[in-house]
């Protein structure tokens, strides 16, 4: 082992976010209620600075920090940019509804801490650090789910918390078992050790680990908190819950799959492939007849986890997997947040019918909704299309043609429920549409739509940037 390389600058984006969260907490205690937006502004500055720092770091060759516990490689760099960019969008849609709220600064701090947890999960190469990051990502999110302190919010937070606590314990148990089996917590060392470890032990550890990761990602079979938590919490929080923790968890799973389980006696790829298949199918089936838009998006996000798991399944079998995974992650995040931004922009519209006549009142917002929803389907030239193309190519290449076919069939099925939302939005309504709304969220929706299409059209350089090797 090399000597400890404790250079905090390697973790600059994370440090910035942590510092801004702590500073925000202190500031929030002193600022008058009308000026608490300054904490939000600080968070925005921290995110922008973090993105800049991450982009600069991304140009350097892959390295590790703090021993080998934290990897600074393309996966980390992409996750950093996506998480911080996603946080910016979430902060954007929260700005209006929280204006003057007694706990405004607390909200911003919690958002930053949740994002920090996601960042740590994405970058860590060590099971113990991973467990800590998991808790850091979870606890602020539980609080945020119940932030409104009303009936549905409390129920959402409770359900989220209970499921999370249970699966978190399983995760810790899994980490323990893996440590017992491999006598190491560092991924590269663990990967070597598990080659000769007894298979049942590895299997138990892997399942425990998967339980926690799938809970964070909202994938089947740990998905049943998603619809209730998303429907019960406020729209900005719902946007956060369906993106930021997911990015961290899936990036971690991608890393674990490549470094730890690739050489183990476990049929890891097949396991993830099955989980992907089940997740996308059940998510789609669940979404079919939803009336509540947030619930519909919640089920849609479960199915999207399935697509995101496609490249994860073939991490060691296809050279295309890493590009596909990271690109899809970015594409999904911005498109999903775009759809949620539309929901945030119309706080009084809850069901699909409430969107009737939107195109007449707010043509641009309706266009954003249509582009984001068709984007989630994977209609070209949006970013998710290119992501899906890459993901399908990767699983084909990795020898799972059946999975690609199943994913294509699921894509068609998903079209059905997205259209159930698009149709009322673009058709004429008799009653006045849900006109009054949130201007900042509207701008965020436009921005996310533009980014989603732009990322799809200019995917070339982005894909090239994602192609570097992972840290050893």
């Amino acid at each position: 082992m090399t000597e400890m390389n404790e250079n905090p600058l390697d973790l600059l984006p994370e440090v910035l976010l942590a510092a801004s969260a702590v500073l925000g907490l202190l500031l929030g205690s002193w600022l008058p209620r009308a000026r608490q937006w300054a904490v939000g502004l600080l968070a925005v500055v921290a995110c922008v600075a973090g993105i800049v720092a991450a982009s600069v770091a991304a140009a350097e060759p892959a390295t590790t920090a703090f021993g080998e516990a934290f990897a600074v490689d393309p996966v980390t760099a992409a996750s950093r940019i996506v998480v911080l960019g996603g946080t910016l969008l979430v902060l954007g849609v929260s700005f209006r509804p929280l204006r003057g709220d007694p706990r405004e600064s607390e909200f911003y701090v919690l958002v930053q801490l949740a994002a920090l947890g996601a960042l740590m999960m994405a970058g860590t190469q060590d099971l113990l650090l991973f467990a800590a990051a998991y808790l850091l990502a979870s606890i602020p999110a539980y609080t945020l789910a119940g932030f409104r302190k009303d009936g549905p919010g409390t129920e959402a937070a409770l359900k989220y918390y209970v499921v999370g606590a249970l699966l978190g314990v399983l995760l810790l148990a899994g980490v323990t078992v893996l440590y017992a089996a491999g006598r190491a917590t560092l991924y590269p060392m663990l990967g070597d050790a598990l080659r000769d470890a007894p298979e049942p032990l590895v299997a138990v550890g892997a399942i425990g680990l998967l339980a926690g990761v799938l809970f964070k990602a909202g994938g089947v079979p740990a998905h049943f908190w998603v619809p209730d938590a998303v429907q019960g919490s406020s729209a900005p929080v719902a946007a956060l819950l369906t993106t930021l923790p997911k990015i961290g968890a899936l990036a971690a799973l991608f890393r674990v799959g490549g470094a730890v389980f690739a050489g183990s006696p476990l049929p890891w790829s097949a396991l993830i492939a099955v989980l992907a298949a089940v997740s996308m199918t059940l998510g789609n089936l669940g979404a079919f007849f939803q009336q509540d838009v947030k619930r519909l998006l919640a089920y849609s996000t479960i199915s999207q986890v399935g697509y995101l798991l496609l490249p994860v399944a073939v991490v060691d079998r296809s050279d295309l997997a890493q590009q596909a995974f990271l690109y899809y992650l970015a594409a999904y995040t911005v498109t999903n947040l775009g759809a949620f931004a539309v929901v945030c922009a119309l706080p009084r519209a809850h069901t699909l019918d409430d969107y009737r006549g939107l195109a007449k009142d707010r043509p641009l917002l309706a266009a954003s909704l249509v582009v984001c929803l068709l984007g989630l389907v994977g209609t070209p030239p949006t970013a998710v299309f290119l992501g899906k193309l890459q993901a399908f190519s990767a699983v084909f290449d990795g020898g799972y043609a059946w999975l690609a076919v199943l994913a294509a069939v699921n894509t068609v099925a998903s079209l059905f429920y997205y259209l159930r939302w698009i149709v009322p939005a673009v058709s004429r309504g008799d009653s006045p549409g849900p006109a009054e709304g949130d201007r900042t969220a509207r701008v965020v929706a436009y921005a996310a739509t533009v980014i989603s299409v732009g990322l799809g059209l200019a995917g070339g350089p982005v894909l090239d940037a994602l192609a570097g090797p992972m840290s050893p």
Partner: protein, 501 residues
């Protein structure tokens, strides 16, 4: 040049949205018509600069997503040029036809202009992903045309259309990915894939990829058994939408066969040619028989589309038969298939616009509700008559040239199938004649419209302006087809050379 041709309509569509909302509808209409006319002029310029037999021309290539093997690559040859011209002509006809359209004209015009971009883009695309992008966007745009401006059951028909063709497009995408991974280096470029012939000697892989590609294109074409989305989509769509759907969008499927499936997968195509011949014959007969049973004018025309597209599939299948048929016969079949695409576009486009005229006057497509219209609307009767006769393949019209070539070319390799398909002509002749007699002869009878019985005014200026050029071109092609055939023949010969590898 091609890039300007493809993206100009979308630019105009965006311009329409930049105009203030209160602008008079006439402005939107005239911008639309002008833009379509300019597009047609551009295509004529391209045609004038095109050198027959010169292979791919006006090529443009730019890096797009090199990491994924995708590039922006466009070009025209003898297969795509006629379809480009057809597209521009039909869109101009639709713009003229819609001069009386009042419902949200700005959005309508913008959607059609966008749709024109997708159609033109598809026909010039030389990259599979570019092809797919335009393929999918055309579905999206058409969905909104049907759902937004269709008749009563439009939402349901539009959904069915979207789901069916989207399934097809995803099958197509899987096939494309299969081709991409088979090629080394990995690429989506059609020209490179054609040169590489990546699946030579890999029969199972090739068969699966061909299956995916053919299913995707067959849904769009549509052939039996994937045609069930077509009648409701046609019946519920507005007249201009039906004309584009039948005239241009259906050609995307058959164009894909000659552009992608035959040159890139020659081995698999030859092996399964017989399956295609059978599908073609079944489509021909099924389409004709069901059309014969229809009393709804628009549904009848929709089913004759299944019949006419069947001839194309038959010809493309027969051209691959390795039996000792002459090179010339097979080339004739492919040329006939391309000619049929153009001819069918002109004639069905005209027929659907005329169906729109009928519906606009009488509010129903039911042929039983009309009788003796020739007395009050002689011009309408004459045009419908010409379109119907041309459609059933009477000599002197483009349909005859196309079908004659198809049958002559296919008879050698596939005598039985061709003989069966000729029956299709007989059936369409019967059904068109019956429809003409029903609607135009006998005592005058109009549908019981609620309220006052309304008159049946004859063709209005803009309607004639839209329909007459289509019919006139069909006649010109029927009498002097050389200018088209000179362009198509070298291209179809090169397709056959690629197929023979």
């Amino acid at each position: 040049m091609l890039t300007a041709l493809v993206f100009a309509p979308t630019a105009v569509a965006l311009l329409l949205f930049a105009l203030p909302r209160r602008t008079a509808p006439a402005v939107f209409r005239s911008v639309w018509v002008t833009a379509s006319a300019v597009e047609l002029a551009l295509v004529i310029v391209v045609w004038a600069g095109y050198e027959p037999g010169g292979g791919m021309q006006f090529e443009e290539r730019a890096r797009w997503i090199p990491g994924a093997g995708v590039s922006y690559h466009v070009g025209v040859d003898g297969l795509s040029l006629p379809l480009l011209a057809l597209t521009c002509l039909l869109f101009l006809a639709c713009a003229l036809y819609s001069l009386r359209e009042n419902r949200r004209i700005r959005e309508f015009a913008a959607l059609f202009l966008f749709l024109q971009t997708t159609c033109l883009g598809l026909f010039v695309a030389l990259d599979l992903i570019l092809f797919f992008v335009f393929f999918d966007l055309s579905i999206v745009a058409m969905y909104f045309v049907i759902a937004g401006w269709g008749h009563r059951q439009a939402a349901r028909a539009a959904l069915k259309f979207f789901l069916y063709t989207f399934i097809g497009s995803l099958a197509l995408l899987l096939g494309f990915i299969g081709l991409y991974l088979a090629a080394s280096p990995h690429t989506f470029d059609i020209v490179e894939l054609t040169e590489q012939n990546p699946l030579a000697g890999r029969s199972v892989y090739g068969a699966l990829v061909l299956l995916a590609v053919v299913v995707g294109l067959a849904v769009k074409t549509p052939t039996v058994p994937f045609h069930t989305w077509l009648p409701p989509a046609h019946v519920e769509a507005p007249a201009a939408g039906s004309a584009i759907l039948a005239g241009v969008l259906l050609k995307m499927g058959t164009y894909g066969f000659v552009r992608i499936a035959m040159p890139i997968l020659p081995e698999a195509w030859r092996r399964y040619a017989l399956v295609l011949v059978v599908i073609g014959v079944v489509s021909v007969l099924h389409g004709a028989l069901v059309a014969l049973a229809e009393t709804d004018f628009k549904r009848m025309v929709a089913y004759t589309s299944v019949n006419h597209m069947g001839y194309i599939v038959l010809a493309l299948g027969a051209a691959a038969a390795t039996a000792d048929s002459s090179e010339q016969a097979r080339s004739l079949a492919v040329t006939g298939a391309v000619t049929q695409m153009v001819s069918h576009g002109l004639l069905t486009g005209a027929l659907f616009l005329l169906a729109g005229v009928l519906h606009e006057r009488g509010r129903t497509y039911d042929m039983g509700a009309y009788s003796g219209l020739a007395a009050v609307a002689p011009a309408f009767a004459a045009m419908t008559g010409v379109a119907a006769f041309a459609s059933l393949g009477l000599p002197g019209f483009s349909g005859f040239i196309a079908e004659f070539q198809i049958f002559t070319g296919s008879l050698g390799p596939q005598p039985l199938a061709t003989a069966l398909s000729v029956l299709g002509i007989l059936l369409t002749a019967g059904l068109f004649l019956r429809a003409l007699r029903q609607v135009f002869t006998g005592p005058l009878r109009l549908p019981d419209a609620p309220g006052t019985p309304r008159a049946f005014p004859d063709m209005r200026g803009h309607e004639s302006l839209a329909v007459v050029p289509l019919l006139a071109l069909a006649v010109v092609l029927g009498l002097a087809p050389r200018f088209l055939l000179d362009v198509v023949e070298p291209a179809s010969r090169s397709v056959l050379e690629l197929l023979a590898r």
